[in-house]
Protein backbone atom coordinates (compact mmCIF):
# COMPACT_ATOMS: atom_id res chain seq x y z
CA UNK A 1 0.00 0.00 0.00
CA UNK A 2 1.58 3.26 -1.12
CA UNK A 3 1.38 6.45 0.94
CA UNK A 4 -0.95 7.73 -1.76
CA UNK A 5 -3.37 4.81 -1.34
CA UNK A 6 -3.11 5.36 2.41
CA UNK A 7 -4.08 9.00 2.03
CA UNK A 8 -7.06 8.10 -0.15
CA UNK A 9 -8.14 5.57 2.45
CA UNK A 10 -7.99 8.19 5.19
CA UNK A 11 -10.10 10.55 3.10
CA UNK A 12 -12.62 7.72 2.67
CA UNK A 13 -12.76 7.35 6.46
CA UNK A 14 -13.45 11.06 6.78
CA UNK A 15 -16.23 10.85 4.21
CA UNK A 16 -17.75 7.84 5.99
CA UNK A 17 -17.74 9.77 9.25
CA UNK A 18 -19.71 12.52 7.54
CA UNK A 19 -22.25 9.91 6.37
CA UNK A 20 -22.70 8.70 9.94
CA UNK A 21 -23.01 12.19 11.39
CA UNK A 22 -25.53 13.00 8.67
CA UNK A 23 -27.68 9.95 9.42
CA UNK A 24 -27.45 10.71 13.13
CA UNK A 25 -28.79 14.23 12.63
CA UNK A 26 -31.63 12.90 10.46
CA UNK A 27 -33.24 11.37 13.55
CA UNK A 28 -34.75 14.71 14.57
CA UNK A 29 -37.04 16.85 12.41
CA UNK A 30 -35.17 19.95 13.51
CA UNK A 31 -31.74 18.76 12.37
CA UNK A 32 -32.74 16.33 9.61
CA UNK A 33 -32.13 18.69 6.72
CA UNK A 34 -28.68 19.67 7.95
CA UNK A 35 -27.92 15.99 8.36
CA UNK A 36 -28.76 15.29 4.75
CA UNK A 37 -26.51 18.13 3.59
CA UNK A 38 -23.62 16.87 5.70
CA UNK A 39 -24.05 13.42 4.23
CA UNK A 40 -24.02 15.01 0.77
CA UNK A 41 -20.75 16.71 1.73
CA UNK A 42 -19.31 13.32 2.59
CA UNK A 43 -20.40 12.08 -0.82
CA UNK A 44 -18.56 14.91 -2.60
CA UNK A 45 -15.40 14.12 -0.62
CA UNK A 46 -15.60 10.40 -1.38
CA UNK A 47 -16.17 10.92 -5.11
CA UNK A 48 -13.42 13.52 -5.50
CA UNK A 49 -10.97 11.25 -3.69
CA UNK A 50 -11.87 8.42 -6.06
CA UNK A 51 -11.43 10.62 -9.13
CA UNK A 52 -7.97 11.67 -7.95
CA UNK A 53 -7.20 8.04 -7.20
CA UNK A 54 -8.28 6.81 -10.64
CA UNK A 55 -6.39 9.57 -12.45
CA UNK A 56 -3.33 8.67 -10.40
CA UNK A 57 -3.74 4.99 -11.24
CA UNK A 58 -4.04 6.23 -14.84
CA UNK A 59 -5.06 2.78 -16.00
CA UNK A 60 -8.06 4.22 -17.82
CA UNK A 61 -8.24 5.23 -21.48
CA UNK A 62 -9.84 8.51 -22.59
CA UNK A 63 -12.76 6.52 -24.01
CA UNK A 64 -13.43 5.14 -20.54
CA UNK A 65 -13.39 8.63 -19.06
CA UNK A 66 -15.72 9.88 -21.78
CA UNK A 67 -18.13 7.01 -21.16
CA UNK A 68 -18.00 7.86 -17.45
CA UNK A 69 -18.66 11.56 -17.96
CA UNK A 70 -21.49 11.07 -20.44
CA UNK A 71 -23.09 8.45 -18.25
CA UNK A 72 -22.79 10.56 -15.12
CA UNK A 73 -24.17 13.64 -16.87
CA UNK A 74 -27.15 11.73 -18.21
CA UNK A 75 -27.90 10.03 -14.91
CA UNK A 76 -27.52 13.24 -12.92
CA UNK A 77 -29.86 15.08 -15.28
CA UNK A 78 -32.50 12.38 -15.01
CA UNK A 79 -32.19 12.04 -11.25
CA UNK A 80 -32.32 15.74 -10.51
CA UNK A 81 -35.20 16.33 -12.92
CA UNK A 82 -37.35 13.59 -11.37
CA UNK A 83 -36.41 14.67 -7.84
CA UNK A 84 -37.39 18.27 -8.55
CA UNK A 85 -40.75 17.48 -10.13
CA UNK A 86 -42.01 14.44 -8.21
CA UNK A 87 -45.23 14.87 -6.24
CA UNK A 88 -44.55 14.52 -2.51
CA UNK A 89 -46.88 11.55 -2.26
CA UNK A 90 -45.05 9.78 -5.10
CA UNK A 91 -41.76 9.78 -3.23
CA UNK A 92 -41.84 6.09 -2.31
CA UNK A 93 -41.91 5.06 -5.95
CA UNK A 94 -39.09 7.48 -6.76
CA UNK A 95 -36.99 6.12 -3.91
CA UNK A 96 -37.77 2.69 -5.30
CA UNK A 97 -36.47 3.74 -8.72
CA UNK A 98 -33.30 5.09 -7.12
CA UNK A 99 -32.91 1.74 -5.38
CA UNK A 100 -33.22 0.06 -8.75
CA UNK A 101 -30.54 2.16 -10.40
CA UNK A 102 -28.29 1.89 -7.36
CA UNK A 103 -28.52 -1.89 -7.41
CA UNK A 104 -28.01 -1.90 -11.16
CA UNK A 105 -24.92 0.27 -10.85
CA UNK A 106 -23.47 -2.05 -8.20
CA UNK A 107 -24.04 -5.04 -10.47
CA UNK A 108 -22.46 -3.18 -13.40
CA UNK A 109 -19.36 -2.36 -11.36
CA UNK A 110 -18.90 -5.99 -10.35
CA UNK A 111 -19.50 -7.05 -13.94
CA UNK A 112 -16.89 -4.62 -15.21
CA UNK A 113 -14.37 -5.95 -12.72
CA UNK A 114 -15.16 -9.51 -13.79
CA UNK A 115 -14.91 -8.71 -17.49
CA UNK A 116 -11.56 -7.01 -17.02
CA UNK A 117 -10.24 -10.11 -15.28
CA UNK A 118 -11.40 -12.43 -18.09
CA UNK A 119 -8.89 -10.59 -20.23
CA UNK A 120 -6.44 -10.01 -17.42
CA UNK A 121 -5.28 -11.86 -14.33
CA UNK A 122 -7.34 -14.72 -12.88
CA UNK A 123 -9.73 -14.08 -9.99
CA UNK A 124 -9.12 -15.10 -6.38
CA UNK A 125 -12.05 -16.31 -4.29
CA UNK A 126 -11.85 -13.10 -2.28
CA UNK A 127 -13.01 -11.11 -5.29
CA UNK A 128 -14.99 -13.71 -7.28
CA UNK A 129 -17.37 -14.42 -4.37
CA UNK A 130 -18.26 -10.79 -3.73
CA UNK A 131 -18.60 -10.23 -7.47
CA UNK A 132 -21.20 -12.97 -7.77
CA UNK A 133 -23.02 -11.88 -4.60
CA UNK A 134 -23.03 -8.33 -5.89
CA UNK A 135 -24.54 -9.35 -9.23
CA UNK A 136 -27.18 -11.48 -7.48
CA UNK A 137 -28.26 -8.87 -4.92
CA UNK A 138 -27.86 -5.98 -7.33
CA UNK A 139 -30.04 -7.61 -9.98
CA UNK A 140 -32.73 -8.59 -7.48
CA UNK A 141 -32.97 -5.04 -6.18
CA UNK A 142 -32.94 -3.71 -9.74
CA UNK A 143 -35.90 -5.69 -11.06
CA UNK A 144 -37.66 -5.92 -7.70
CA UNK A 145 -37.54 -2.18 -7.12
CA UNK A 146 -38.88 -1.45 -10.59
CA UNK A 147 -41.87 -3.72 -9.93
CA UNK A 148 -42.43 -2.12 -6.53
CA UNK A 149 -42.33 1.33 -8.11
CA UNK A 150 -44.82 0.16 -10.74
CA UNK A 151 -47.20 -1.06 -8.06
CA UNK A 152 -46.95 2.17 -6.07
CA UNK A 153 -47.46 4.18 -9.25
CA UNK A 154 -50.44 2.05 -10.15
CA UNK A 155 -48.91 1.00 -13.49
CA UNK A 156 -48.88 -2.55 -12.14
CA UNK A 157 -51.94 -3.66 -10.21
CA UNK A 158 -51.47 -3.18 -6.50
CA UNK A 159 -53.23 -6.43 -5.74
CA UNK A 160 -50.94 -9.43 -5.26
CA UNK A 161 -50.14 -11.01 -8.64
CA UNK A 162 -49.61 -14.74 -8.68
CA UNK A 163 -49.88 -17.18 -11.56
CA UNK A 164 -49.82 -20.99 -11.72
CA UNK A 165 -46.26 -22.28 -11.69
CA UNK A 166 -44.86 -19.06 -10.25
CA UNK A 167 -43.30 -21.10 -7.46
CA UNK A 168 -41.72 -23.43 -10.01
CA UNK A 169 -40.20 -20.58 -12.04
CA UNK A 170 -38.96 -19.11 -8.79
CA UNK A 171 -37.20 -22.30 -7.79
CA UNK A 172 -35.72 -22.65 -11.29
CA UNK A 173 -34.40 -19.08 -11.17
CA UNK A 174 -32.75 -19.74 -7.84
CA UNK A 175 -31.19 -22.99 -9.06
CA UNK A 176 -29.81 -21.36 -12.22
CA UNK A 177 -28.43 -18.41 -10.27
CA UNK A 178 -26.80 -20.73 -7.74
CA UNK A 179 -25.33 -23.11 -10.31
CA UNK A 180 -24.01 -20.39 -12.60
CA UNK A 181 -22.74 -18.51 -9.56
CA UNK A 182 -20.82 -21.47 -8.22
CA UNK A 183 -19.31 -22.12 -11.64
CA UNK A 184 -18.39 -18.47 -12.05
CA UNK A 185 -16.62 -18.63 -8.70
CA UNK A 186 -14.85 -21.95 -9.19
CA UNK A 187 -14.31 -22.23 -12.94
CA UNK A 188 -14.39 -18.45 -13.16
CA UNK A 189 -13.69 -15.89 -15.85
CA UNK A 190 -16.51 -16.73 -18.28
CA UNK A 191 -18.74 -13.70 -18.90
CA UNK A 192 -21.67 -15.88 -19.95
CA UNK A 193 -21.74 -17.58 -16.56
CA UNK A 194 -22.09 -14.22 -14.85
CA UNK A 195 -24.68 -13.16 -17.43
CA UNK A 196 -26.71 -16.25 -16.51
CA UNK A 197 -26.51 -15.26 -12.85
CA UNK A 198 -27.65 -11.78 -13.80
CA UNK A 199 -30.70 -12.90 -15.79
CA UNK A 200 -31.80 -15.49 -13.25
CA UNK A 201 -31.52 -12.95 -10.44
CA UNK A 202 -33.47 -10.33 -12.39
CA UNK A 203 -36.25 -12.86 -12.89
CA UNK A 204 -36.19 -13.79 -9.23
CA UNK A 205 -36.46 -10.15 -8.23
CA UNK A 206 -39.61 -9.73 -10.35
CA UNK A 207 -41.25 -12.85 -8.93
CA UNK A 208 -40.29 -11.77 -5.43
CA UNK A 209 -42.21 -8.48 -5.52
CA UNK A 210 -45.15 -9.26 -7.84
CA UNK A 211 -47.13 -11.17 -5.18
CA UNK A 212 -46.85 -8.34 -2.65
CA UNK A 213 -49.80 -6.04 -1.98
CA UNK A 214 -49.32 -2.46 -3.12
CA UNK A 215 -50.03 -1.15 0.35
CA UNK A 216 -47.10 -3.14 1.66
CA UNK A 217 -44.88 -1.70 -1.05
CA UNK A 218 -43.40 1.04 1.17
CA UNK A 219 -42.01 -1.62 3.47
CA UNK A 220 -40.62 -3.59 0.54
CA UNK A 221 -39.02 -0.43 -0.84
CA UNK A 222 -37.31 0.08 2.49
CA UNK A 223 -36.17 -3.54 2.46
CA UNK A 224 -34.80 -3.25 -1.08
CA UNK A 225 -33.06 -0.06 0.03
CA UNK A 226 -31.17 -2.08 2.63
CA UNK A 227 -30.38 -4.78 0.05
CA UNK A 228 -29.00 -2.19 -2.36
CA UNK A 229 -26.67 -1.07 0.41
CA UNK A 230 -25.40 -4.64 0.72
CA UNK A 231 -24.91 -4.89 -3.04
CA UNK A 232 -22.82 -1.73 -2.97
CA UNK A 233 -20.75 -3.11 -0.09
CA UNK A 234 -20.11 -6.26 -2.14
CA UNK A 235 -18.98 -4.09 -5.04
CA UNK A 236 -16.59 -2.50 -2.57
CA UNK A 237 -15.14 -5.92 -1.73
CA UNK A 238 -14.84 -6.75 -5.43
CA UNK A 239 -12.82 -3.65 -6.33
CA UNK A 240 -11.28 -3.22 -2.85
CA UNK A 241 -12.84 0.21 -2.26
CA UNK A 242 -13.47 1.01 1.41
CA UNK A 243 -15.83 3.90 0.78
CA UNK A 244 -18.23 1.49 -0.92
CA UNK A 245 -17.86 -1.12 1.80
CA UNK A 246 -18.49 1.31 4.66
CA UNK A 247 -21.32 3.30 3.11
CA UNK A 248 -22.92 0.15 1.71
CA UNK A 249 -22.83 -1.71 5.02
CA UNK A 250 -24.05 1.43 6.79
CA UNK A 251 -27.15 1.62 4.58
CA UNK A 252 -27.61 -2.13 4.68
CA UNK A 253 -27.86 -2.17 8.46
CA UNK A 254 -29.65 1.15 8.94
CA UNK A 255 -32.14 0.24 6.22
CA UNK A 256 -32.90 -3.09 7.89
CA UNK A 257 -33.60 -1.46 11.26
CA UNK A 258 -35.76 1.14 9.53
CA UNK A 259 -37.73 -1.58 7.75
CA UNK A 260 -38.41 -3.35 11.03
CA UNK A 261 -39.60 -0.11 12.64
CA UNK A 262 -41.91 0.60 9.70
CA UNK A 263 -43.44 -2.86 9.76
CA UNK A 264 -43.89 -2.55 13.53
CA UNK A 265 -45.75 0.75 13.15
CA UNK A 266 -48.14 -1.03 10.78
CA UNK A 267 -48.25 -4.02 13.11
CA UNK A 268 -47.19 -6.29 10.27
CA UNK A 269 -44.24 -8.65 10.31
CA UNK A 270 -41.67 -8.20 7.54
CA UNK A 271 -41.84 -11.95 6.93
CA UNK A 272 -45.61 -11.78 6.48
CA UNK A 273 -45.18 -8.90 4.04
CA UNK A 274 -42.51 -10.62 1.95
CA UNK A 275 -44.73 -13.69 1.78
CA UNK A 276 -47.31 -11.16 0.62
CA UNK A 277 -51.00 -11.45 -0.10
CA UNK A 278 -52.94 -9.74 2.71
CA UNK A 279 -52.73 -6.02 2.04
CA UNK A 280 -54.15 -4.99 -1.32
CA UNK A 281 -53.75 -1.21 -1.19
CA UNK A 282 -56.73 -0.34 -3.36
CA UNK A 283 -59.96 -0.66 -1.50
CA UNK A 284 -62.01 -1.59 -4.53
CA UNK A 285 -60.71 -5.13 -4.78
CA UNK A 286 -61.87 -5.80 -1.22
CA UNK A 287 -65.17 -4.09 -1.89
CA UNK A 288 -67.52 -7.06 -2.26
CA UNK A 289 -68.78 -7.20 1.39
CA UNK A 290 -71.60 -5.08 2.79
CA UNK A 291 -70.82 -2.46 0.16
CA UNK A 292 -74.52 -1.85 -0.43
CA UNK A 293 -75.94 -2.40 3.07
CA UNK A 294 -76.95 1.21 3.81
CA UNK A 295 -79.64 0.34 6.32
CA UNK A 296 -78.96 1.89 9.74
CA UNK A 297 -76.36 4.17 8.12
CA UNK A 298 -77.07 7.81 8.92
CA UNK A 299 -76.21 9.71 5.70
CA UNK A 300 -75.56 13.44 5.82
CA UNK A 301 -75.10 16.23 3.24
CA UNK A 302 -72.45 18.94 2.94
CA UNK A 303 -74.91 21.40 4.50
CA UNK A 304 -75.59 19.19 7.51
CA UNK A 305 -71.85 18.88 8.07
CA UNK A 306 -71.36 22.64 7.66
CA UNK A 307 -73.95 23.39 10.36
CA UNK A 308 -72.45 20.81 12.69
CA UNK A 309 -68.99 22.32 12.24
CA UNK A 310 -70.20 25.90 12.59
CA UNK A 311 -71.68 25.11 16.00
CA UNK A 312 -68.62 23.21 17.23
CA UNK A 313 -65.91 24.68 19.43
CA UNK A 314 -63.34 21.92 19.06
CA UNK A 315 -63.00 20.11 15.71
CA UNK A 316 -60.46 17.38 15.02
CA UNK A 317 -59.76 16.35 11.43
CA UNK A 318 -58.69 12.72 10.93
CA UNK A 319 -57.01 12.43 7.53
CA UNK A 320 -56.43 9.04 5.91
CA UNK A 321 -55.32 7.43 2.70
CA UNK A 322 -58.37 8.82 0.91
CA UNK A 323 -57.15 12.38 1.45
CA UNK A 324 -53.94 11.49 -0.35
CA UNK A 325 -55.73 9.52 -3.06
CA UNK A 326 -57.95 12.52 -3.74
CA UNK A 327 -55.06 15.01 -3.40
CA UNK A 328 -57.39 17.01 -1.12
CA UNK A 329 -54.78 18.40 1.29
CA UNK A 330 -55.30 22.00 0.17
CA UNK A 331 -59.10 21.74 0.47
CA UNK A 332 -58.87 20.42 4.02
CA UNK A 333 -56.40 23.14 4.99
CA UNK A 334 -58.71 25.78 3.52
CA UNK A 335 -61.71 24.45 5.45
CA UNK A 336 -59.67 24.43 8.66
CA UNK A 337 -58.54 28.03 8.09
CA UNK A 338 -62.10 29.12 7.46
CA UNK A 339 -63.36 27.51 10.66
CA UNK A 340 -60.56 29.01 12.69
CA UNK A 341 -61.31 32.52 11.41
CA UNK A 342 -64.67 31.95 13.10
CA UNK A 343 -63.05 31.07 16.41
CA UNK A 344 -63.41 27.33 16.07
CA UNK A 345 -60.37 25.38 17.29
CA UNK A 346 -59.26 22.91 14.60
CA UNK A 347 -56.57 20.26 14.99
CA UNK A 348 -55.40 17.33 12.88
CA UNK A 349 -55.03 13.86 14.41
CA UNK A 350 -52.17 12.11 12.63
CA UNK A 351 -51.96 8.34 12.94
CA UNK A 352 -48.42 7.03 12.38
CA UNK A 353 -49.56 4.77 9.55
CA UNK A 354 -52.39 6.81 8.12
CA UNK A 355 -52.12 6.73 4.35
CA UNK A 356 -49.80 4.46 2.46
CA UNK A 357 -46.36 5.60 3.40
CA UNK A 358 -44.85 6.43 6.78
CA UNK A 359 -45.34 10.10 7.53
CA UNK A 360 -47.69 10.28 4.54
CA UNK A 361 -50.10 12.69 6.24
CA UNK A 362 -47.36 14.94 7.60
CA UNK A 363 -45.89 15.30 4.13
CA UNK A 364 -49.30 16.09 2.64
CA UNK A 365 -50.35 18.64 5.24
CA UNK A 366 -46.90 20.22 5.34
CA UNK A 367 -47.28 20.67 1.58
CA UNK A 368 -50.56 22.52 2.29
CA UNK A 369 -48.70 24.73 4.82
CA UNK A 370 -50.50 23.34 7.88
CA UNK A 371 -48.37 24.45 10.86
CA UNK A 372 -46.74 21.73 12.96
CA UNK A 373 -48.53 22.83 16.14
CA UNK A 374 -51.89 21.83 14.64
CA UNK A 375 -50.83 18.23 13.96
CA UNK A 376 -51.45 16.01 16.99
CA UNK A 377 -49.60 12.72 17.21
CA UNK A 378 -51.50 9.61 18.34
CA UNK A 379 -51.24 10.13 22.12
CA UNK A 380 -51.92 13.87 22.18
CA UNK A 381 -54.83 13.33 19.81
CA UNK A 382 -56.42 10.64 21.98
CA UNK A 383 -56.40 13.05 24.89
CA UNK A 384 -57.98 15.75 22.74
CA UNK A 385 -60.81 13.54 21.44
CA UNK A 386 -62.37 13.43 24.90
CA UNK A 387 -63.58 17.02 24.62
CA UNK A 388 -63.94 17.23 20.85
CA UNK A 389 -67.33 18.22 19.45
CA UNK A 390 -66.90 17.00 15.89
CA UNK A 391 -64.36 14.51 14.58
CA UNK A 392 -64.19 14.99 10.80
CA UNK A 393 -62.76 11.82 9.24
CA UNK A 394 -61.54 12.28 5.67
CA UNK A 395 -60.84 9.15 3.67
CA UNK A 396 -59.69 7.12 6.61
CA UNK A 397 -60.86 3.75 7.80
CA UNK A 398 -58.46 1.49 9.68
CA UNK A 399 -56.65 4.06 11.77
CA UNK A 400 -59.68 4.58 14.05
CA UNK A 401 -61.36 1.19 13.74
CA UNK A 402 -62.52 0.33 17.29
CA UNK A 403 -62.32 -3.36 16.41
CA UNK A 404 -58.55 -2.99 16.77
CA UNK A 405 -59.23 -3.23 20.50
CA UNK A 406 -60.79 -6.66 19.96
CA UNK A 407 -58.65 -9.68 19.10
CA UNK A 408 -58.92 -11.87 16.00
CA UNK A 409 -59.09 -9.39 13.09
CA UNK A 410 -56.53 -7.87 10.72
CA UNK A 411 -56.16 -4.67 12.75
CA UNK A 412 -56.21 -6.28 16.20
CA UNK A 413 -53.66 -4.69 18.51
CA UNK A 414 -52.92 -1.77 16.20
CA UNK A 415 -52.92 1.45 18.27
CA UNK A 416 -55.85 3.56 16.98
CA UNK A 417 -57.23 7.08 17.19
CA UNK A 418 -60.11 7.16 19.68
CA UNK A 419 -62.47 8.89 17.24
CA UNK A 420 -65.35 7.13 19.00
CA UNK A 421 -64.66 9.30 22.08
CA UNK A 422 -65.68 12.44 20.19
CA UNK A 423 -69.17 13.84 20.86
CA UNK A 424 -70.10 13.41 17.20
CA UNK A 425 -68.36 11.98 14.14
CA UNK A 426 -68.55 12.84 10.44
CA UNK A 427 -66.97 10.37 8.03
CA UNK A 428 -66.24 11.60 4.50
CA UNK A 429 -65.57 8.80 2.04
CA UNK A 430 -66.99 7.62 -1.25
CA UNK A 431 -68.79 4.52 -0.06
CA UNK A 432 -69.06 1.88 2.64
CA UNK A 433 -66.07 0.12 1.18
CA UNK A 434 -63.37 -0.87 3.65
CA UNK A 435 -59.75 0.22 3.45
CA UNK A 436 -56.35 -1.36 3.43
CA UNK A 437 -57.12 -3.98 6.03
CA UNK A 438 -60.25 -4.96 4.11
CA UNK A 439 -62.59 -4.89 7.10
CA UNK A 440 -65.53 -2.58 7.71
CA UNK A 441 -65.56 -0.07 10.56
CA UNK A 442 -68.40 -0.37 13.15
CA UNK A 443 -68.35 3.43 13.56
CA UNK A 444 -69.96 3.71 10.11
CA UNK A 445 -73.23 2.56 11.63
CA UNK A 446 -72.80 4.23 15.01
CA UNK A 447 -75.75 6.48 15.95
CA UNK A 448 -73.49 9.50 16.59
CA UNK A 449 -71.84 9.10 13.18
CA UNK A 450 -72.92 10.90 10.01
CA UNK A 451 -71.64 9.37 6.75
CA UNK A 452 -71.02 11.87 3.95
CA UNK A 453 -70.41 9.91 0.75
CA UNK A 454 -68.21 11.87 -1.67
CA UNK A 455 -64.77 12.13 -3.10
CA UNK A 456 -62.60 13.81 -0.47
CA UNK A 457 -61.61 16.75 -2.70
CA UNK A 458 -65.14 17.41 -3.92
CA UNK A 459 -66.71 16.80 -0.54
CA UNK A 460 -64.38 19.13 1.37
CA UNK A 461 -64.88 21.89 -1.20
CA UNK A 462 -68.64 21.48 -0.85
CA UNK A 463 -68.45 21.66 2.95
CA UNK A 464 -66.27 24.78 2.79
CA UNK A 465 -68.73 26.44 0.45
CA UNK A 466 -71.65 25.48 2.69
CA UNK A 467 -69.90 26.82 5.80
CA UNK A 468 -69.12 30.12 4.04
CA UNK A 469 -72.76 30.38 3.06
CA UNK A 470 -74.06 29.51 6.47
CA UNK A 471 -71.86 31.96 8.41
CA UNK A 472 -72.40 34.86 5.99
CA UNK A 473 -76.13 34.22 5.75
Amino acid sequence: MTTFDFAVGVVYLAASTLFVVGLHLMRLPSSARRGNLISAGGMVVAVLATVVFSLHESGGSWIGWLALLFGAALGAAFGIARARTVKMTDIPQLVSIFNAVGGGAAAAVAFADFVQHTTGTALGLDSSIPIVLDVVIGSITFSGSLIAAGKLQGIISGSPITFPGARLVNVLAIIVALAAGVFAITVGNDVWLLAAVLVASLLFGVLLVLPIGGADAPVIVSLLNALTGLAVAMAGFAIDNQALIIAGALVGAAGTILTLQMAKAMNRSVAAIVLGGFGTGDSKSSAAPDAQDLSNVHQVSADDVAVQLAYAQQVIVVPGYGLAAAQAQHEVAELAKLLMTHGIDVKYAIHPVAGRMPGHMNVLLAEANVPYEQMLQLDEANVAFDNCDVALVVGANDVYNPDARKPGNPVSGMPILDVDHAKSVVILKRSMRPGYAGISNPLFTDPKTGMYFADAKVGLAAITAAVKEYVTA
Binding site: F19, G22, H24, R27, L28, P29, S30, A32, N36, S39, A40, M43, V47, T50, S54, E57, G59, G64, A67, L68, G71, A72, L74, G75, R82, R84, M88, I91, F98, N99, G102, G104, A105, A108, Q116, N225, G229, G236, F237, I239, D240, N241, Q242, L244, I245, I246, A247, G248, V251, A253, A254, L258, Q261, I350, P358, G359, V363, A366, V370, Y372
Partner: protein, 105 residues
Protein backbone atom coordinates in the same frame (compact mmCIF):
# COMPACT_ATOMS: atom_id res chain seq x y z
CA UNK B 1 -6.74 -15.53 2.98
CA UNK B 2 -5.21 -12.12 2.42
CA UNK B 3 -4.74 -9.42 5.06
CA UNK B 4 -6.62 -7.13 2.68
CA UNK B 5 -9.68 -9.36 2.89
CA UNK B 6 -9.61 -9.38 6.68
CA UNK B 7 -9.24 -5.62 6.75
CA UNK B 8 -12.26 -5.19 4.47
CA UNK B 9 -14.24 -7.74 6.45
CA UNK B 10 -13.55 -5.93 9.74
CA UNK B 11 -14.52 -2.62 8.12
CA UNK B 12 -17.72 -4.25 6.84
CA UNK B 13 -18.74 -5.71 10.20
CA UNK B 14 -18.03 -2.53 12.13
CA UNK B 15 -19.93 -0.46 9.58
CA UNK B 16 -22.91 -2.78 10.00
CA UNK B 17 -22.75 -2.13 13.76
CA UNK B 18 -22.62 1.62 13.20
CA UNK B 19 -25.60 1.34 10.88
CA UNK B 20 -27.64 -0.55 13.44
CA UNK B 21 -26.88 1.93 16.21
CA UNK B 22 -27.12 5.16 14.26
CA UNK B 23 -30.83 4.82 13.51
CA UNK B 24 -32.03 4.60 17.10
CA UNK B 25 -35.76 5.06 17.51
CA UNK B 26 -37.02 7.65 15.05
CA UNK B 27 -40.54 9.15 14.90
CA UNK B 28 -42.56 7.51 12.12
CA UNK B 29 -42.86 10.98 10.61
CA UNK B 30 -39.21 10.68 9.62
CA UNK B 31 -39.36 7.13 8.25
CA UNK B 32 -39.71 8.28 4.65
CA UNK B 33 -36.99 10.98 4.76
CA UNK B 34 -34.69 8.57 6.55
CA UNK B 35 -35.34 5.94 3.89
CA UNK B 36 -34.62 8.33 1.07
CA UNK B 37 -31.65 9.83 2.89
CA UNK B 38 -29.96 6.46 3.33
CA UNK B 39 -30.96 5.64 -0.24
CA UNK B 40 -28.89 8.62 -1.37
CA UNK B 41 -25.90 7.32 0.57
CA UNK B 42 -25.70 4.06 -1.35
CA UNK B 43 -25.31 6.31 -4.36
CA UNK B 44 -21.65 6.18 -3.29
CA UNK B 45 -21.53 3.37 -5.82
CA UNK B 46 -20.72 6.20 -8.25
CA UNK B 47 -17.25 6.12 -6.73
CA UNK B 48 -17.20 2.49 -7.81
CA UNK B 49 -18.12 3.56 -11.32
CA UNK B 50 -15.24 6.02 -11.31
CA UNK B 51 -12.88 3.29 -10.15
CA UNK B 52 -14.01 0.94 -12.95
CA UNK B 53 -12.66 3.42 -15.51
CA UNK B 54 -9.21 2.14 -14.70
CA UNK B 55 -10.42 -1.38 -15.53
CA UNK B 56 -12.22 -0.63 -18.79
CA UNK B 57 -10.24 -1.59 -21.89
CA UNK B 58 -12.82 -3.40 -24.06
CA UNK B 59 -16.01 -2.06 -25.67
CA UNK B 60 -17.96 -4.12 -23.16
CA UNK B 61 -15.91 -2.48 -20.42
CA UNK B 62 -16.78 0.98 -21.72
CA UNK B 63 -20.47 0.13 -21.96
CA UNK B 64 -20.43 -1.15 -18.36
CA UNK B 65 -18.63 1.98 -17.18
CA UNK B 66 -21.21 4.12 -18.95
CA UNK B 67 -24.06 2.08 -17.44
CA UNK B 68 -22.61 2.13 -13.95
CA UNK B 69 -21.99 5.88 -14.15
CA UNK B 70 -25.45 6.69 -15.45
CA UNK B 71 -27.32 4.52 -12.96
CA UNK B 72 -25.18 5.58 -9.99
CA UNK B 73 -25.42 9.28 -10.87
CA UNK B 74 -29.20 9.05 -11.03
CA UNK B 75 -29.20 7.46 -7.58
CA UNK B 76 -26.86 9.89 -5.87
CA UNK B 77 -28.02 13.18 -7.39
CA UNK B 78 -31.71 12.32 -7.35
CA UNK B 79 -31.48 10.84 -3.88
CA UNK B 80 -29.97 13.89 -2.21
CA UNK B 81 -32.13 16.38 -4.05
CA UNK B 82 -35.43 14.66 -3.29
CA UNK B 83 -34.49 14.10 0.35
CA UNK B 84 -33.63 17.76 0.72
CA UNK B 85 -36.89 18.79 -0.93
CA UNK B 86 -38.86 16.61 1.45
CA UNK B 87 -37.02 17.75 4.55
CA UNK B 88 -37.35 21.35 3.50
CA UNK B 89 -41.12 20.86 3.84
CA UNK B 90 -40.78 19.07 7.17
CA UNK B 91 -38.54 21.67 8.71
CA UNK B 92 -40.42 24.68 7.39
CA UNK B 93 -42.61 24.67 10.53
CA UNK B 94 -40.24 22.70 12.69
CA UNK B 95 -38.81 25.10 15.33
CA UNK B 96 -41.15 23.37 17.79
CA UNK B 97 -39.45 20.07 17.05
CA UNK B 98 -36.10 21.56 18.06
CA UNK B 99 -37.09 20.89 21.66
CA UNK B 100 -38.25 17.39 20.78
CA UNK B 101 -38.52 15.61 24.20
CA UNK B 102 -37.51 12.17 22.97
CA UNK B 103 -34.27 13.47 21.47
CA UNK B 104 -32.54 10.21 20.54
CA UNK B 105 -29.13 11.77 20.13
Amino acid sequence: MTAELFSNLAIFVLSLLVGVEVIGKIPSTLHTPMMSGSNAIHGVVIAGAVATVTLAHSPLGYVLTFLAAALAAANVFGGYVVTDRMLEMFTRHAPAAASDPKDPS
